[in-house]
């Protein structure tokens, strides 16, 4: 039995999962979400959960794009994709380097500058990016289990001690 050529190379990862966005911008979006919520690997840092993968490694960008494509008003979506295409220009103006070329610290610094930019288009872009990145990160498998998620707890106790972490 023969199968189509494409099927030989088929893996879940090889399927185009992100719609309505160029490959370059998809990579850029992945870097942006990672810069927004970066990997930290210092156990015992400021807070529990700090030693955790970043949003980029968790591929939260795929969730961001799914929400932008399917659950975001047209004008907000088009602003998002337009501004995404301008992130490198923004980075070149500030650092004379593309966003991808920046160090991890500078990437976060660059994101921070975008977050403080008063232009309505950047405000809209950053608002969309942060809202969906935080939502995707907080509802990721890793973080939900960190926070004590139980799919089928099998019980309810109406009054237990709150032990503050």
């Amino acid at each position: 039995m023969s199968i189509p050529a494409w099927a030989n190379a088929w893996t879940p990862e090889s399927l185009p999962e992100i719609k309505n966005i160029s490959t370059e911008n998809a990579k850029l979006l992945n870097m942006l979400v990672e810069a927004l919520i970066p990997k930290t690997d210092t156990p015992g840092a400021a807070a529990p959960g700090a030693a955790a993968p970043g949003a980029g490694e968790m591929e939260v960008d795929k969730f961001v794009m799914a929400m932008v494509n399917d659950c975001t008003p047209d004008n907000q979506r088009s602003t998002f994709t337009t501004q995404l295409g301008l992130v490198d220009k923004f980075s070149m103006e500030k650092y004379n380097e593309s966003f991808a070329e920046l160090s991890a610290e500078k990437k976060t610094e660059c994101i921070s500058m975008i977050s403080m930019n008063e232009a309505p288009s950047w405000r809209s872009f950053f608002g969309t990016l942060k809202r969906y990145t935080v939502q995707g990160y907080q509802s990721s498998e890793y973080i939900m289990y960190e926070n004590g998620f139980q799919f089928a707890p099998g019980f309810y106790n109406g009054c237990v001690d709150l032990v503050k972490s």
Binding site: A35, L36, I37, P38, T40, A45, A46, A47, P48, G49, A50, A52, G54, F63, A66, M67, D70, C71, T72, P73, T108, I111, S112, S115, K130, V134, Q135, G136, Y137, Q138, S139, S140, E141, I143, M144, F149, Q150, F151, A152, P153, G154, F155, Y156, N157, G158, C159, V160, D161, L162, K164, S165
Partner: protein
């Protein structure tokens, strides 16, 4: 599952035809099949076999592409279905699309419809409070609609009967306004709910807060194991369909039970067009069914027909069942069919905070909440509006996050648990008064893709509802204040009739054929072999979530029908 494609009339002849496979239809099917009657179950929606057809049941939250939210395009194409709180990625496939069988809104009405075997029993909120004698006596005492032909004593043994099979958890609260049953162990009220319960009973002689009675198996009995059901696992994603059968759905309980007897045949994709009335025999002899896939019409025949299509769909089918004898719809001699439709008023909510028990929280999950049985006008008329309202009540405490910053700052902020005050909330469930001007009827021009005239709906809030909303806000504000709750906010949610999914009436029960359509056994007065035991039969609505009462009425009517059949009367 058997699919019929046989043309001989003999193969299309049954003892009983059940129109609808949901909450009440499942019970009719189980009762007839159990007693050896050859039973045909017709379902307009698609097949939905227990577990096999629950595609989202084991998806983790992060496995839902949009974390539950349905894409805007789907929501825009289905504004009616999307108005339901359960229309999300976990359960949207159990809803009927708006374009499937459109209807006319003479006034805003959101008709929430399912589209598979089991109907809304997969999607329901699972609250199962009994009616009391005060609820049945309402119309006669207060002079609206017509007198119920039955009272609490008539239905009490049938509440016992269905509750045992369904599995109802709850406390024996000893309230005459909300009779007890033989319950499975109750869920627990949390500390703030207990505090509210104590505060209310201390300050108000006539008011009680209880843990809701709900259709969850908290401790299985043999009868539940016999159905292949097990203990509820507290996942609280019930509307996706439960692989444990932890809550009651026709799919996990009555329908497979009926099929297991070998006496029942289940036909999905079967849109009932109308009932067939035989002038010579002076009874209904069968139904006309359109296969929703092939669009072909086939007739099926039976000695008795049970209408369990859901309140408005049953009205729709009966109104469309025209014959020389019944030109205005089967059994509609008095012209009242489709009229006196009512619903439950869910329009007001009241939220607040509580800063007690700050060293406590809850653990696990609970598929239930506390419940405030109706306390207005129970024993006598005491307000400037008729009847009253029940209410849901719940308290919860979850940690909040700080979303400030970017980079490591943001990440650290997100990791901090911020424990604020408890949050409490209540929603009203008000009885509405059935009125002649609240009606459904066949549209004179528009038809759906099956060639069936569209249903036209005109059901509105009235002045009594507005007064009741005000009273709910005032009374609960006072109850909240006495309990020490703060930041109290009473508000209206703008829900339109139908969105409560408790529409009832149109083919009401009553004592007099001149003013009602059904007798005390849910038989059409003028066509005794047709029984209506879904929400369409309701003379009034009271305040309780209605499914349990539909199930009890169905089992009672089926028992009567079978006895009459054995006597040769049907």
């Amino acid at each position: 599952m058997t699919y019929l494609n046989i043309n001989s009339v003999k193969k299309r002849k049954f003892d009983a035809i059940i129109v609808g496979s949901g909450m009440s239809g499942g019970w009719a099917a189980k009762e007839f099949a159990d007693k050896g009657f050859k039973t045909l179950i017709l379902e307009r929606g698609k097949k939905a076999e227990h577990i096999i057809d629950y595609p989202t049941t084991n998806l983790q939250p992060w496995e839902l592409e949009h974390r539950g939210r349905m894409p805007d395009k789907v929501r825009e194409e289905n504004p009616i279905a999307a108005s339901c709180y359960n229309f999300h990625e976990g359960a949207a496939h159990f809803f009927m699309k708006d374009t499937e069988q459109p209807y006319v809104q003479e006034s805003p009405f959101q008709w929430i419809r399912p589209n598979q075997v089991g109907g809304k029993s997969l999607l329901w909120a699972r609250q199962t409070q009994r009616w009391s004698k005060y609820d049945f006596e309402g119309p006669a005492r207060d002079g609206f609609a017509v007198e119920w032909p039955i009272g609490y004593d008539d239905i009490a043994p049938w509440y016992d009967y269905v509750e045992n099979f369904v599995g109802i958890s709850g406390n024996k609260d000893g309230l005459d306004s909300l009779p007890d049953g033989d319950f499975l162990p109750p869920h627990e009220q949390n500390c703030v709910e207990k505090h509210f319960t104590d505060s209310v009973s201390k300050n108000f002689d006539d008011r009680h807060i209880i843990i809701g009675r709900c259709a969850h198996i908290t401790e299985p009995r043999q009868i539940h194991y016999d159905q292949g059901r097990a203990k509820c696992q507290h996942r609280t994603i019930c509307e996706r369909g439960c692989p444990f059968g932890g809550y009651f759905a026709a799919n996990s309980s009555t329908i497979p039970w009926a099929l297991k007897t070998g006496n029942a045949t289940l036909m999905p994709n079967s849109v009932v067009h109308s009932l067939i009335y035989d002038d010579k025999k002076q009874k209904a002899v069968g139904v006309r069914v359109i296969d929703s896939e092939s669009m072909e019409m086939t007739e099926y025949f039976a000695d008795v027909i049970f209408m369990n299509a859901s309140a408005l769909a049953t009205n729709h089918i009966l109104l469309n069942s025209k014959s020389d004898r019944f030109p205005e719809g089967l059994g509609n001699d008095n012209g009242l069919m489709g009229k006196y439709v009512a619903f439950h008023n869910y329009r007001a909510v009241i939220n607040a905070e509580y800063e007690g028990f700050m060293d406590k929280k809850t653990a696990g999950k609970r598929p239930n909440s506390s419940y405030v049985p109706r306390f207005r006008n129970v024993y006598k008329q005491e307000t400037d509006f008729l009847r009253g309202y029940a209410a849901g009540f719940q308290a919860s405490r979850n940690s909040q996050s700080n979303y400030e910053g970017v980079g490591k700052d943001l990440k650290n902020n997100l990791a901090q648990e911020i424990w604020g005050p408890w949050r409490v909330g209540s929603h009203m469930m008000g009885e509405t008064i059935p009125k002649e001007e609240s009606y459904v009827r066949l549209d004179q021009g528009l038809v759906d893709k099956y060639g069936i005239p569209q249903l036209s709906i005109n059901v509105k809030y009235d002045d009594n509802d507005e007064k009741m909303i005000q009273d709910f806000k005032e009374q609960f504000t006072e109850m909240y204040e006495k309990a020490g709750f703060t930041n109290i906010k009473a508000s209206e949610n703008g829900r339109v009739p139908g969105n409560d999914i408790h529409e009832m009436g149109g083919v009401r029960m009553g004592k007099d054929p001149k003013t009602s359509l059904l007798n005390e056994w849910n038989q059409l007065h003028s066509c005794k072999n047709v029984f209506v035991t879904d929400g369409a039969c309701m003379t009034s609505t009271s305040t309780q979530n209605p499914s349990l009462t539909y199930m009890a009425l169905t089992a009672r009517a089926a028992d009567y029908a079978m006895k009459e059949m054995k006597k040769g009367n049907l």
